[in-house]
């Protein structure tokens, strides 16, 4: 893949919408091409910014005037009429806004809200937005953040109060997103390969992958992938398309407060460290130097621990975890797979067949012995006859 091809597909790649093959080619190209890798990161950020734009609510009275126009069956305005009516329309619009404002302000004050409320920014903004409609008349109190799939109900660890959910900017919500899926797939091996491709296609990675034979020869597998949290929903949706979803569990843990707390205590600790360094410079005797250095060592240890925790949290926020449990449907496994798979299965069947013959022979043995004995006796009897 060259840069021109890559540029054309970069957006689709960033969204996880390339085929596994294209995504693999792209991943390979990005490893070698700094420029395209930077462009991918830039696209991802731009898309993320747009996703954070809130829904703009229709002003009050919108529905009524729309319905009035529908009822009036006023024909769609032609461009010419639009021009001709322009000054009048402007005046009408101003009048309407004034009237609306007069009507709406007391109402808004009464309700303690504002006239035109922006809805919660859909943080994930994935492919399932059409399922995501907020019911109209939602009060600003309810406009918290929706980070899990919309049908997941309330998320744990999410404060749903209005005061706690002002959006964006300085305090971007830090949410650790995790999903656990149980999928029934035709082939565990095939599915885990596809999952790995999907994850790597969005610059994620496979954290662990295993497979084993369960009861009745049913293959089982487990794959855990980490994907950039922007891509969480799109990857999840595409993973779900790989088989029949038996169980789905999506969780979001809001760690904004923890991150802020740790950042604050880190700043504090660093200030303390500086103060001790100053003291150290002014220390008069060895004993004092020792005491201060002991204190410094303790503070530096705490700084390291705090930094480690922050790094962990940031990593967990930046990369969401998707754990997928895979199983093949029960019953005879379909004859898929490569030549070796087939050969091994054929051999197993052959061994079974040989076994069956031996057992059948064993069953028949007593009868055979009787028959042979009988035959000898008969021959003797014939010979003994004159």
């Amino acid at each position: 893949m060259n840069c021109t091809d890559a540029k054309a597909l970069l957006s689709a790649y960033v969204d996880g919408w390339l085929s596994a093959k294209e995504a693999a080619a792209m991943a390979a190209h990005l490893l070698g091409c700094q420029e395209c890798a930077a462009a991918a990161a830039a696209l991802r950020q731009t898309a993320a910014l747009c996703r954070d734009l809130p829904e703009v609510k229709a002003p009050r009275g919108f529905r009524e005037s729309a319905m009035a126009r529908v009822r009036g069956k006023r024909p769609a305005v032609s461009p010419l009429a639009w021009f001709a009516a322009s000054p009048a329309r402007t005046l009408t619009a101003i009048a309407a806004v004034v009237v609306l404002a007069f009507a709406a302000v007391p109402a808004a004050l009464l309700m303690g809200g504002t006239m035109m409320k922006a809805a919660a920014p859909p943080v994930e903004g994935g492919v399932d937005a059409p399922r995501n409609f907020l019911p109209s008349g939602l009060s600003s109190k309810d406009s918290g953040y929706s980070i899990a799939a919309p049908d997941q109900g309330p998320e744990p660890g999410r404060a749903a109060t209005g005061a706690d959910s002002y959006p964006l900017a300085g305090h971007e919500r830090k949410v650790i997103k995790t999903a656990a899926l149980q999928l029934e797939v035709a082939s565990v091996e095939d599915a885990s390969k596809r999952i790995a491709f999907l994850a790597e296609g969005v610059l994620g990675y496979v954290e662990s992958s295993s497979s084993w034979a369960g009861d009745k020869g049913v293959r089982n597998g487990a794959v855990r992938v980490r994907v950039p949290s922007d891509e969480f929903t799109s990857v999840l949706e595409r993973v779900k398309e790989l088989g029949k979803v038996k169980r789905e569990d999506v969780q979001g843990q809001d760690v904004t407060k923890q991150v802020i707390d740790h950042e604050a205590s880190l700043r504090n600790l660093k200030r303390q460290e500086e103060r001790y360094l100053d003291i150290l410079k002014q220390a008069k005797d060895v004993e004092e130097v020792m005491r201060v250095e002991q204190e410094l060592a303790r503070i530096r240890h705490t700084i390291e621990v705090t930094e480690g925790t922050l790094r962990y949290l940031q990593g967990a926020v930046a990369y969401s975890t998707i754990s997928i449990e895979l199983r093949q449907p029960e019953g005879p496994p379909p004859l898929l797979g490569g030549f070796w798979d087939k050969l091994v299965r054929a051999l197993a069947a052959g061994v079974g067949f040989a076994e069956a013959i031996i057992f059948a022979a064993a069953k028949a043995l007593p009868t055979l012995v009787l028959v042979v004995l009988g035959w000898f006796v008969y021959r003797r009897w014939r010979r003994a006859r004159p």
Binding site: A41, R51, L53
Partner: protein, 204 residues
């Protein structure tokens, strides 16, 4: 009740069913119109046009897509038509939008300073989107702002899936170009090419 059942009732002449549909989608359609035009006056006009048009062409809805997707298709066409018409005369409202009345784009919610900053950023982002060509604008608004899938975007804009992919790439690129020229977005775009190059340089 399902959208489709409501559509059926509308076809039978039940106006209240259509009112229900309007109330379900008014915010989505309004939001789309606002993001496409960049100002509230046009958004209100166009969003109402959308519902009038939908009401009169319900018979043409054959259920080839979900009602909501079909509705967005009508909405997107209405907005694009209007933008095209406006393209032939001075784009007054576009300039007004980028001139930046911050309260126009976001919700002046009483609250911490962060919210005010967010509004400023959102208004500037909206202005940047409004500076794109109508077709690019549609891509960014449908896919990134409204969060639709590629298939939905393809259906709504009547483009092939491949066209959506490449057009969205170009749209995001040019949006990115506009944003990186604005100081307001520097904190959000830390990992620009230069910053990356610098980081790389420090490491080696």
């Amino acid at each position: 009740m399902e959208d489709l059942a409501l559509v059926e009732r509308c076809r039978d002449g039940d106006e209240s069913a259509f009112a229900e549909l309007v109330s379900r989608y008014e915010h989505k359609v309004y939001s789309l119109a606002f993001r496409m035009t960049g100002n509230h006056d046009d958004a209100q006009d166009l969003a109402q046009d959308v519902f009038v048009k939908v009401y009169h062409s319900l018979n043409r809805f054959r259920g080839e897509a979900s009602f909501s997707t079909w509705l967005y298709r009508v909405a997107s066409n209405v907005c694009l038509d209007s933008l095209r018409r406006r393209g032939r005369r001075p784009a007054v409202s576009l300039d007004a939008a980028s001139g930046g009345d911050p309260s126009a784009a976001g919700d002046p919610r009483p609250g911490p300073q962060a919210a005010a900053e967010a509004n400023e950023v959102q208004a500037a982002l909206q202005a940047a989107i409004a500076s794109l060509s109508p077709q690019h604008r549609a891509m960014v608004v449908l896919r990134d702002v409204q969060g639709m899938s590629y298939e939905e975007v393809a259906y709504i804009t009547g483009c092939a899936l491949g066209t959506v992919k490449s057009r969205l790439s170009r749209a995001r690129e040019s949006l990115r170009g506009t944003l990186s020229r604005s100081e307001l977005f520097q904190p959000y775009l830390v990992q620009t090419d230069e910053a990356r190059a610098k980081k790389g340089g420090e490491k080696t």
